[in-house]
């Protein structure tokens, strides 16, 4: 069983953990953090293109969620509620940073490529992909990640982003088209 700081993370439902925290066991919140850190950390890194910015946004989201935990009306659906907070924090972080150049963590690319058959080529492809992703408009990148990486339905995406379904579909479509153009050259090599 996966453990974190001595706390089992797989036994209790989100609703049970939230109830424990609200009852005064604030340490139980570590279960929530451990449970969702990886999935939502990935989203934040892909969205912001920087591990440092992503960790900052993710930590901020966890703290804000903790602070507002009593307002989580459906604790059994903690994950989408939290995702909405995180998406907002990523938007804020992205707006603050403006169009400052993003730097993707190349050490991660190198690490992931080390055990592969053609590590150099794979690393180059991943780097191009990350670069292309960060060249998308922020709204398109957000929609693409929610749809194709997080595999959310458009209705859930609309709740998270506050944007209508038809607009989201258009953003995903444009993101796909743009990625195709940006990566065409790399793919044909």
């Amino acid at each position: 069983m996966t453990q974190t700081r001595g706390l089992p993370i797989q036994n209790d439902s989100d609703a049970a953990v939230v109830a424990r925290v609200l009852a005064g066991d604030s340490g139980a919140y570590a279960i929530i953090v451990a449970r969702y850190r990886a999935q939502y950390g990935r989203y934040a890194v892909r969205m912001l293109g920087s591990r440092e910015d992503a960790e900052e946004a993710l930590q901020d989201a966890f703290v804000r969620a903790y602070r507002s935990l009593a307002k989580c009306d459906e604790p059994e659906r903690f994950a989408p509620w939290f995702f909405r907070i995180l998406a907002n924090r990523c938007r804020t972080a992205g707006t603050r940073r403006g169009r400052r150049e993003r730097t993707f963590v190349n050490d991660e690319i190198a690490l992931l490529s080390a055990s592969e058959e053609h590590p150099a080529e794979r690393a180059a492809w991943r780097e191009e992909l990350e670069r292309a992703l960060q060249r998308l408009d922020a709204d398109q990148r957000e929609a693409f990640l929610l749809k194709h990486v997080e595999e959310l339905g458009y209705d859930d995406m609309a709740v998270i982003t506050g944007v209508g379904v038809s607009a989201l579909k258009m953003r995903v479509k444009r993101a796909c088209e743009r990625l195709r153009v940006l990566l065409q050259e790399v793919q044909s090599d």
Partner: protein, 201 residues
């Protein structure tokens, strides 16, 4: 299974982006430490946490020179305040809201806080919150009050400047202020823009 592309190229990209990322191994600890930071409101505050300034003993150590400097500064502040606030700035809540969702209702002078009233008109809503550059786009920090059916307001004290903002209806739908200028943000959706001006002498 959600709706998904059958495009192999997009699937290849998605598969790549689904790879796990590495975070700081101390990330969990950092979060839990942040929960105990002084500026985080605890879920179950103790009496001391609720009113630390009332119940905590204070220890003040002051050198003779420091005490003299503090006394001199206090005299200066009192003298300046007496001069500065000869006429008392008065906050006047404007009742005239025709066509304007943001009405300067008081001014305290240049470089000082200016009270602005944000208003949104719509009936049948459960809640409206205000998010913008002035509150770090925090959904929870600024809530409008329905002062009469369909009339929601909140007044903020802001420094003169230009601010982008949105309203959030019922905690979900982000909308702009229909009577204020708009600017497109990085996410393709518009923000309202307000210019808070200092009081003209």
């Amino acid at each position: 299974m959600t709706e998904h592309s059958r495009d192999p190229f997009i699937d290849q990209i998605a598969a790549e982006l689904k790879r796990p990322v590495r975070l700081d191994p101390r990330f969990d600890d950092r979060v839990m430490e942040a929960l105990n930071a002084p500026d985080v409101i605890p879920l179950h505050p103790t009496r001391e946490q609720r009113r630390p300034w009332l119940v905590r003993p204070w220890t003040v150590r002051v050198s003779p020179i420091g005490a003299f400097a503090a006394a001199a500064a206090l005299v200066g502040v009192v003298a300046f305040s007496a001069w500065q606030f000869r006429p008392i700035d008065q906050v006047q809540v404007s009742s005239e809201q025709v066509g304007g969702n943001l009405t300067p209702v008081a001014n305290a002078g240049e470089n000082q806080l200016v009270v602005h009233q944000f208003t949104y008109y719509q009936k049948g809503l459960q809640s409206i919150s205000l998010v913008g550059e002035f509150n770090d786009w925090d959904d929870d920090s600024t809530t409008l009050t329905e002062v009469s059916p369909g009339v929601w307001t909140v007044s903020l004290r802001l420094r003169p400047g230009v601010y982008e903002y949105q309203f959030i209806l019922n905690g979900k739908q982000r909308v702009t202020d229909p009577t204020m200028p708009q600017i497109s943000n990085d996410f393709g959706s518009p923000n309202s823009v307000v210019t808070v001006s200092p009081k003209v002498p």
